[in-house]
Subunit: 119 residues, 2 copies
């Protein structure tokens, strides 16, 4: 499977998932599968959240808390879960607020190594 198929697989497998992206740590998107059900500008929001992933990494490193493996943000309209793929890339899934958060975490955990193997 290519990147896109892995990202589609996450969206298909998680109740309430509307998008899944592979992103560079610099906020540049590598590939995205997007169902666009929310009426939000999801892509630019995910770019902004990559800044937060970056910030979390810096804060954790400064305080010897080790590498950041996962970051999740719940808002009124959106639940996002991001997971480290490699030192330069992470993947992020966006769900409706009532989406299956536990399943999203699980799917990212098993999919991240598959993406890493293709980078």
């Amino acid at each position: 499977m290519g990147f896109r198929e892995h990202l589609q697989d996450v969206v298909r497998s998680v109740d309430g998932a509307v998008a899944c992206s592979l992103m560079g740590m610099d906020g540049i998107e590598v590939d995205t599968h997007l169902t666009d059900e929310l009426g939000l500008d999801l892509k630019s929001l995910l770019v902004e959240f990559s800044t937060l992933f970056h910030g979390a990494r810096a804060a954790a490193a400064d305080h010897e808390a080790g590498a950041v493996s996962e970051l999740s943000i719940q808002t009124e309209r959106l639940l996002t879960v991001a997971r480290l793929v490699s030192s330069e890339y992470f993947m992020v899934a966006a769900l409706r607020p009532d989406g299956n958060f536990g399943k999203a975490r699980y799917m990212l955990r098993i999919t991240a190594p598959k993406l890493a193997a293709e980078l």
Copy 2:
């Protein structure tokens, strides 16, 4: 119960929890219950993570994703879960990486309104 008792209650109720704080959105701590088992400078790390909460709020607001209710960060040595208490305050629990994440989210969800009522 006062703030401290609520924070203690979270730490006591969640397997693997080592600290729970009530923080201002400006990163200033209101109160903390800390068991200090990790050998990390947890308090200053939590202050840094409050900057991330702030950043997530700004990003979500800019993109009409609504208020940020929860933020979680998993690192190699620490799992933190933060939850909005009011527009100016949030609470954050720190767990060992193998701590009970689901229980922490649940405890913050039921404890945040109790803290809000005392602010």
